[in-house]
Symmetry: C2
Subunit: 506 residues, 2 copies
Amino acid sequence: MLEAVDMSVKMKKKEYKAAFDELAPKLGELQRTAKEKGVPVVLVVEGWEGSNKGSLVNQLLQALDPRGYLFIAPPGRGEERYPFLIPYWEITPPAGKMTILAGSWYREVLRRRLEKGEHAKDYSGVFRDICAFERHLADSGTVVLKFFCHMEKKEQKKRLEARAADPDLSWSVSERDWLENREYDSFLFCAEEMLSFTGTEYAPWTVVAAGSFEFAAWKILSTVERVLRERLSGEEWPATGGVLGGVEYEKSAALSTTEPDGDLSAKEYEKQLAALQSELKSLEIRVFRESLPVILLFEGVDAAGKGGAIRRITEALYPMNYTVHPVGAPNDLERSHHYMWRFWKDFPRFGHIAVFDRSWYGRVLVERVEGFCSPAEWHRAYREINETERHLTDFGTLLLKFWLQIDQEEQLRRFESRHDDPFRAWKLTDEDWRNREKWDDYQKAAGEMLVRTGTPYAPWTVVATNSKRLARIKILTTVTEGIHKALEGRADRVSGELRNTKRKKA
Amino acid sequence: MLEAVDMSVKMKKKEYKAAFDELAPKLGELQRTAKEKGVPVVLVVEGWEGSNKGSLVNQLLQALDPRGYLFIAPPGRGEERYPFLIPYWEITPPAGKMTILAGSWYREVLRRRLEKGEHAKDYSGVFRDICAFERHLADSGTVVLKFFCHMEKKEQKKRLEARAADPDLSWSVSERDWLENREYDSFLFCAEEMLSFTGTEYAPWTVVAAGSFEFAAWKILSTVERVLRERLSGEEWPATGGVLGGVEYEKSAALSTTEPDGDLSAKEYEKQLAALQSELKSLEIRVFRESLPVILLFEGVDAAGKGGAIRRITEALYPMNYTVHPVGAPNDLERSHHYMWRFWKDFPRFGHIAVFDRSWYGRVLVERVEGFCSPAEWHRAYREINETERHLTDFGTLLLKFWLQIDQEEQLRRFESRHDDPFRAWKLTDEDWRNREKWDDYQKAAGEMLVRTGTPYAPWTVVATNSKRLARIKILTTVTEGIHKALEGRADRVSGELRNTKRKKA
């Protein structure tokens, strides 16, 4: 693919200057239109070391209004403790803003791959994650623009040598830069594979011949201008693609957990609880020392006992090792982003336990039932969620999901008891009563969710919580067993996976 | 101070359990009241290694609603590249939320000081910065609670030995922990000094005898309960203390810059501009390599040419090395925080250039004139700003502040020319016309600002911009000269200062 690029193109300084002066105000205008229409834009510039990526990007920045963009040099350290997409999700633009990256998620399949000598290895899992990421953005209305600045081996060598000979700049030529030139063919292979696997209709690549600075700058500016102009004209925004086939799920079999007989005595419960909590305490040390990221996710019917169950877990843990994320309605900033954005920043690092009290499943529960998103959006969400969870579990994260279920009569009893207790009355809101009226809608949504997002790598555990004691014991048992299994599974495949090879103490 | 603590106090498990059950719902209630009243709370737990700080904090977390607090273990790496308060400002709570810290800004004057063997050194600058930080929070209505968990040398040794002997926990005892016990007396000295220098009426310390876990947990919980109850009852919220004496500044002499005679020819301007930009380009490399943080701050009359001046600077720079921060009205999240909060996260790291297009001076300009804050608040702001800028410049940051001034007639001409230009008409808003009507109020505010915040470490440069060419040359000259001077000054005092001793390549 890259061999076919015409590298002889040139542009005169003066010619470029005139083109810049013509393009700059147009770009400014388009930026304001994007803002008015609330369209987010992501712009990626990748390419060879020495291809002047930084200065090329600066030409674009000069043409833009700083109020409308965020420029990101590669995110900082510590990232190997997280699934690799996390720092990039964090800087995706809200409605109407633009994020410009020199050094993007493609480092994972270009530079890092080369540094690790892994150009022969199968990277399809990483390509799948990248495509899913870009599709999630594009489907929600983000314009994704990607540039690859291409250079020939000889020209790159010439530029590196010139830099190394300049006393002001020699410090900036690293061993890594020379490696890229020495291993030009391996890098070329990685770049070609990347371009072909991730050049999609929703996020296409533009290859830029970077031999002539002026030509390359013009190519980038004019492409940005043209694509934005095309995408911002017309009314077909935001995109609504990616809808899955509409299988209807009526009240799901998954929800009809038979109520277990009887209950535990208070004494027996305290005994089992203490034993399980003590086991969890020792497991916590192993989780930390063996760098296992853990997500415990709780969804369920209102008043089914999520809070109490979570407390039985956290009271056994050390506060440095866990975080509870209570999920409510999104705030203004969160609302101006992709719906998954606010969860990405809370995914746990190596050795940390993240407890979600409600979660991203709100998209296919409350947002679906209350009409806060369109049918196309919540239909699409099942796949988006599965892809996201796969990204996490591929990284090595243990993801345990619980659905807590009570029946309608029990819910009424609990609402009334809350209402009468001065210290718990605040827990009961008008919204709880309103949701109760939509009981059947919520049950239908929950049933479909359990079926569509119960995956081998991130299964649901449905817990009947009419007996709180039995439910808490079941949840704690599932958690301890799950952690045990994950820690044992890890021992078997230590060297097998991409990012797990890098495990360090958090 | 610590010698006087009665370390023999004890509490029975059962007794503590009963106290917890009584305190927990009260704390939950107070947390909700704080939320309703919009009162933020900061809670710090410091103390000896081995004093069970983590588990003590976990007792408190069990009593609280996770929706209302954020628990912070020490912020991560990379922080030595920033002034030390930055990561802590970032996690100060918005209205109605609580931040709980185990490992706070006091690490700087406890652990780090010990590790660096600097207990004999003068830390008053750091204490001053910490007190200013806590006063800024307290004055804006935040409740600041601080606990120091105290232990005796013998008891600490016993606990460390017990941990080291436990096969499950021995890994967790570090050389640093033993250091603290070996150098108990030095640590005690640092702790005593810290307690006496930073125990203030707006942020007092509570020393906790941590020999008995139950007693210590009860002490913390009951103190939090009592202080919150006291602070949340009554109507005297938020605090309005800290007002400076109300010297009135009429139209300031600082603003009456005489208009320079004549102008530059286009040719002469291009020549001087190119020379200055090329100088800035080489200085930029030194800024990066010698790890100098730089802030270039622009305030001024509407249409005085801030944007154009900034562009003449940034077009000479490499995008990885600078960030332009355009400052507009705060968003919802920012509004729920201290007014300085949003700026702290944008202060530059080592070797980075941050350009502020408007800034925190909005507090004493637009917010003052438009009545968005009370007179007590903007009066207080001069001192708060000076303290903040001192913190930055003590760290080694070069801070250059520009006020761009045109007269009323020139502003009108520029408004009208914008109005007539299709590509620039968007720059002119109704707000600009409204602000123009308050010309005198803005000039009065600017004059007072220049006098009150023109400090030896962060001086203002007032630039008459009726001639854009002369103004841009003057600004670029001030910037290059300022950077030159800062780089030379640094060479003289490399080992002289607290945090500069740690300079690393960014």
